[in-house]
């Protein structure tokens, strides 16, 4: 029988599974994994990885298991404020997650273990760094065997990074379609011919894809590959993957939003004024988590993050998210997580039974949603009615800080300049009326020097 508490993201692994009870997250270790788990603990590998900030801390706890018939132990992993997925990461986030995976594999190899999977979904961002979350992904390494997760590393990390770097940064979205990573034959077709001149990509993508096709109907017995990988060969492979990943860089392309703050109609004074209003509203509602939607380079998200509030800064522009991540990394900002998200088509629930990876809204609600300088893009550029916007925000957060940008504002006029104005209700009365259906308006503050108004609302 299916255990109702068992989380569907971890059903494939017989070693154990995640479950939730009384709001707390646990990981059951099954008897199946008992010998491996004991060896792992004795080796000191888990402890060293946790100390290095590469693995999430997951101590053993005395808690009733979710399925006593298969249970060995129960762990309580440190819970992350938000789970994110590879199709929501910027280029450098993705690259850092890949390099951290290889670091973990290197350390595991030295301790006599190997990662049995190299899935992007085992990497998450916590504080200012990528962290591995699956304590049960290690297995004893048998001397001379190939790395069992090599294929998965290439499909989950190397192929998307190569495509983002050499073709188009937006190709990370292919990970939304291919839950087990981008098929290498597809990556090989999409990459430019010049990528064959890159030794790492020629080997790990092009030759790898060709070998997969060649041996698709020609299984190789395990005994035939045992003893073939010496120490130098194994470490050489990891070293090559690492240098190939490091060598991939982002071509700077100007996108719609990356220069946004240089092109708005805000003066420095109005921007500071808006910041103060946002801060006072945050002080009033004291949220534990903020989702800043349409955050651009996370300028206003940082007001929340700097107050110790976990803040996810979502934006449609991967370059704006990249800029936010690079700044976060440089300044070691602890409470910020910039992510790529198209609000007009937010991350869906994907995988088996639509339940392996949560949709954007399933990961909420946040205590507070911020929607600053956003509503006109959704209402006018995307034709989303004001009532539908109110419903969406009410699903996403318990409180809402939202900026209404009226007609007459240069940004709205710019959006209307190329199309017919079919939005007779797009005015402050229409806005308040639509949002009052879902929210109680707590504050409405005009932003000095602009025609805009900042609202603080609470979900009914």
């Amino acid at each position: 029988m299916t255990n109702p508490n068992k989380l569907s993201s971890s059903f494939r692994d017989p070693s154990g599974f995640m479950f939730r009870r009384d709001g707390r997250l646990y990981r059951q270790v099954n008897v199946h994994y008992q010998a491996e788990y004991d060896r792992l603990v004795q080796s000191g590998l888990l402890e060293k990885l946790v100390q290095a900030g590469l693995l999430v801390f997951a101590p053993v706890v005395e808690v009733k298991p979710a399925d006593a018939s298969t249970a060995y132990k129960v762990l309580q992993p440190e819970e992350l404020p938000l789970i994110s997925y590879p199709y929501e990461w910027s280029f450098t986030q993705y690259k850092d997650a890949a390099l951290a995976t290889l670091q973990i594999q290197k350390r595991a190899y030295e301790a006599g273990f190997a990662l049995k999977d190299a899935s992007t979904y085992n990497m998450q961002f916590h504080h200012d760094r990528p962290v591995f979350i699956d304590t049960l992904s290690f297995e004893t390494y048998r001397e001379g065997e190939p790395w069992v997760a090599y294929r998965q590393f290439c499909q989950h990390f190397l192929a998307p990074l190569a495509l983002m770097s050499l073709v188009d940064i937006r190709l990370s979205q292919l990970m939304r379609v291919y839950i087990d990573g981008i098929p290498l034959d597809l990556a090989a077709k999409l990459l430019p011919g010049s990528s064959k001149m890159n030794l790492g990509l020629a080997a790990h993508i092009h030759a790898h894809a060709a070998a997969q096709v060649r041996y698709a109907d020609d299984p190789v017995a395990k005994k035939d590959i045992r003893g073939k990988m010496g120490r130098n060969a194994f470490l050489g492979l990891l070293d090559s993957l690492e240098s190939t990943v490091r060598g991939l860089t982002l071509k700077t392309v100007k996108t719609e939003w990356a220069e946004y703050y240089n092109a708005t109609n805000y003066t420095d004074t109005s921007l500071a004024e808006k910041g103060k209003l946002v801060e006072s509203m945050l002080v009033r509602v004291k949220p534990a988590s903020v989702w800043d939607l349409g955050a651009n380079n996370a300028y206003f998200s940082r007001i929340a993050a700097s107050r110790g509030i976990f803040t996810a800064a979502f934006d449609i522009d991967p370059l704006a998210v990249e800029a936010a991540y690079l700044q976060m990394k440089e300044k070691k900002e602890q409470n910020l997580l910039p992510l790529v998200l198209d609000l007009a088509n937010p991350s869906p629930a994907i995988g088996w039974h639509h339940a392996e990876r949560d949709s954007f809204l399933q990961r909420g609600p946040a205590d507070c949603v911020m929607a600053l300088a956003l509503i006109h893009h959704l209402a006018i550029s995307n034709n989303v009615p004001l009532g539908a916007l109110a419903s969406f925000f009410a699903d996403a957060g318990k409180t809402l800080i939202i900026e209404f940008v009226p007609k007459g504002d240069s940004q709205v006029d710019r959006l209307l300049s190329t199309r017919e104005d079919i939005f007779p209700d797009y005015n402050i009365q229409g806005f308040e009326q639509a949002f009052k259906e879902q929210f109680k308006i707590l504050e409405a503050q005009p932003i000095a020097g602009t025609k805009r108004t900042l609202y603080l609302m609470e979900r009914k």
């Binding site: 690259k95 850092d96 096709v213 060969a233």
Partner: protein
Amino acid sequence: MSGLFTQLLTGGFGARLVYLDPGSGSYLIQILIAALLGGAFAIKAFWKQISGFFASLFGKKKDDNLDDQPK
């Protein structure tokens, strides 16, 4: 190994649209690539040891190959 190498080079990897076996091709190419890279890695590791030795003679901090964080 040389048989595998020849096969990979001459096997005529046409655009056959087949369901990709998760293991065999990946395993074989991995062994081949790793065998080619192993030698280079051994030289690199040896060179690091030599340069590390001289660096330590001159009081420089030893390079740690297992750095923890992505750069």
